[in-house]
Amino acid sequence: MWKTIKSVLAAFFGVQRESRRQEDFTTGKASSFIVVGILMGVLFVVILIVIATLAAG
């Protein structure tokens, strides 16, 4: 789980180590990446909304 999150964060940032990529593609499950990806995408949007609200307030 933690590994999946770290890989999704790396994908957000746009940089990933080649060895980790190989690992994700051999041992990881596509469905878990999709679910974690969507959840973290939503979380990212929520964080942006909170920052914007704080800045405007």
Binding site: F13, G14, V15, E18, A55
Partner: protein
Amino acid sequence: MRMRHVWMTAGTLFAGLGGHLQASDWNMPVGVTDVSREVYSLHMTIFWICVIIGVVVFGAMFYSLFRYRHSQGAKAAKFHEHTTVEVIWTALPLLILVGMAVPATATLKKMYDASDADLDVMVTGQQWRWHYSYLGEDVDFTSNLATPREQISGESEKGENYLLEVDEPLVLPVGKKVRLLLTADDVIHSWWVPELAVKQDAVPGFVNENWVRINEPGIYRGQCAELCGKDHGFMPVVVEAVEQEQFDTWLAERKAAAAQEAQGVDREWTMDELMERGEQVYGSICASCHQADGSGLPPAFPALAGNQALLDEPERHLDTVVNGVSGTAMPAFRTTLNPVEIAAVITYERNAWGNETGEVTQPADIADMLSE
């Protein structure tokens, strides 16, 4: 030694450029409001950040091209990934962008805070003029281009404020927070005065807010900044900032003039009076489309001189001016012009350029019609 000389020259050049940019026509003006000063300093900060990035990036590139050239036996490196370098070149732009966004957002917040204004002015864009209304003061007027037609057609020399001069400027008091409520009657316009750092779209059916607090008395000029048709370049904005005392006097005079005009509605006007007034109104409102000699610009803008429909059907002529013609460029003038102006311009159009109907339209009749 030679290298140091080059850097010193470059340093002097940039320092000189910075000072020079502030005063030149090439850069945006510092302006005369606190917000415009902030916008200017943001603009310069970001400009210099871009200059530094450009110098570093292109410097590194040209240095590498020269230092590691093929003729000196340089061999290309062939590695596939380098996580550390990739992290640096991703994180650095992110930090630079966030670093620029923080002060920019702080300024934007100030720009959008139009609350607690001392004075509200409604600004309405029309093809092709600005209409200003001082809310709660019963003062409103239209601001038309004042540059003579001969200068535009090249028959006489162009003046200092060519296409940036109007008959009635927007007069505002200095040191007061003035809220601008912007909208439009026909198409999208944009009210733009660089010295005030205001460029706000005026959109039909919407009311946009902006505000200014002008620090220095003076005349500030701008233009419509949204392509709005044939005379887009002929509807300048002129703001005259004056001391509060002078503003109060001006406003009182304006109110008195409006009151006098209202009285004028009730009395009987002579043909000569109406013709004189009508020519004035026609010149500032109608002539941009229908031309000063009434010849129009067919097919979009029909000729009025010798126009048989106009001569035969006075009712329809009146209706066209008051209510406009939907689906054409002819706007409704029932709110832009007062009854005296409508009566005068109708009388003028029915008796000028060889249109000799001899018909006189009285302001009182127009007032009756408008109040129905």
